[in-house]
Structures are given as C-alpha cells and as structure tokens.
C-alpha cells in the first residue's frame, strides 16, 4: 500500500458522482484506511428516530471494501461486486459514521472482504458486511 495508490483512490472518489452524492471521504493512517461518511440530512431513512437509511450504510460499507481493494491492487481496474451480506446491528444515528475493511482473502480472481461500521465507538458497531468481489485484469498501459 502506498501514498500514491491512496491518492489515486481518493481522486477516483472525487470523480465518482455517487460517492460525492453520499459525501464519502477516506483517511489513511499508516497502513490503515478509514472511510468516513459525514452526516447529512439527505442520508436519513427514518425521519422519526432519526436514523440513517439502511441502504446508505450498506452502500458505504461496499464502497469501503472496493476502496480497500483498489488500495492494495492499484494496478487493477475497480473490482466488481459479486454479492454482499449486510448485518444491521444498531440504528445508524444522525451523526458521522466510520468504516474499516479487512481483506480476509485476496485470491487470483475473487476477494472476500469484511467491513465493520461504527459511530461513537468501534466496540459498538452499527453494521457489518461480508462481500465477494471479482478481481479484474490489470489496466492496459
């Protein structure tokens, strides 16, 4: 993982319309990447509680997994999501949300990635995700 790869992933997110729509940001500390979803009113799914939309949390975790994969394999095109399983543990409240991805297995063709998402404390996760991602051929240069 390099600073250069991180800059490239960040630049992609700045170009990607849906990532901008959500307001997704990334931070790198050492070799650990944290994805940050700052709270915004248009992310609310339950206006009574209020709580973040479950789809927002799912999309946020999926993008965290894709960003982590792009970070360790900068020479490849962005992987394709095969499947994701999201477990919702607590309501996502109207505040900033964080996520980190663990690459459990990166094979030749498929990667298995686990993501955890939290707000106040990492020990009280809001949701978890496991996904399979199809790895693509290196970009032709």
């Amino acid at each position: 993982m390099s600073e250069e790869a991180f800059t490239r992933v960040e630049a992609f997110l700045e170009r990607a319309p849906y990532a901008r729509f959500l307001g997704l940001r990334l931070e790198l500390a050492g070799d650990e990447m944290t994805a940050i979803l700052p709270f915004a009113p248009h992310l609310v799914g339950n206006p009574i509680l209020p709580a973040l939309h479950g789809g927002v949390i799912g999309a946020f975790m999926e993008m965290t997994a894709l960003a982590q994969l792009s970070l360790v394999q900068p020479e490849r095109r962005i992987p394709k999501t095969i499947d994701i399983t999201i477990e919702y543990l607590r309501p996502g409240r109207a505040q900033d949300t964080f996520a980190r991805a663990t690459l459990r297995k990166v094979g030749r063709r498929v990667a298995n990635v686990q993501v955890e998402c939290w707000q106040d404390s990492r020990t009280r996760p809001v949701a978890g995700m496991t996904g399979h991602f199809l790895l693509r051929e290196p970009v032709q240069t």
Partner: protein, 143 residues
Amino acid sequence: MAETYETASPGDRMTTFVPHAAALGMTLVAIEKGTGVMQIAWRDDLVGDPETGVIASGVVTALIDHTCGLAISSAGEVPATIATLDLRIDYLRPAGARLGVTVQANCYKLTRSVGFVRAQAWDVDPSDLVATAQASFMLTRPE
C-alpha cells in the same frame, strides 16, 4: 391540514417523507398486499463509475432495502417500526448505461416479530435481472 409522516399514505410515506428516498428520486410503481414495486430513474449524480455511466450498486442496495420495507408494511397490520436484520444481495450483472432501476419485493412470511422478504431488481426487462436479494426484518408492533 398539511400531510405529515404519520398521516401520509403508505406510498407517500415511503417516498416524499423519507429524506434519502426523496434524494434518490424513488417513486412508487405498485403496491398490493405483501408486494411492493419501486423505481429510481437514471440520474448523472447517481452514477458509480463516470467511465461507464452505470447507476451505482449502492443505489440498487438502497432501493432494495426500501422496497423490502414497503413490502412488509403492506403485508399485514402496519408495525410501529421495521428494522433490517440482514440483507443479502447478489449482483447478477451491472445495469445498462444511463438506465434507471426497478425493484419488486415480496414479503412471503410474516410472524409477530419477524418478516422475511425476497426482492428482484432489473433495468429494462423483469426477466433479465440486475440483482436478487433476501432479507429479514425485525418488527415492533404498536402497543
């Protein structure tokens, strides 16, 4: 009297009164007992990868989650709250470039505290799916 979240019809409650549904431009296509169909039209700010022009998979995720909730709220006595327990989505293929997405969700089992839902997503043809999903929801009944 202005319509509020509490007094809105199930269709309005699931679209205009949910900020994220309104932000994505979700519309209600059909609703009957235990089944709901909702749609998001293609929009350039919902694209995942600007090189392909394909709607982001996260948008499909949000529409699936939302339509599943609609299917549950139409399946029986409306629960006070519906909380997603888990949601598994298989992405069968990317949606076509510059195409919106439609989701049909069916609540095939409803107990006092849990609802089970299946959903399908497509862009043009309901027999050529973009994604399939399976979800379970925890329900809280009104006192």
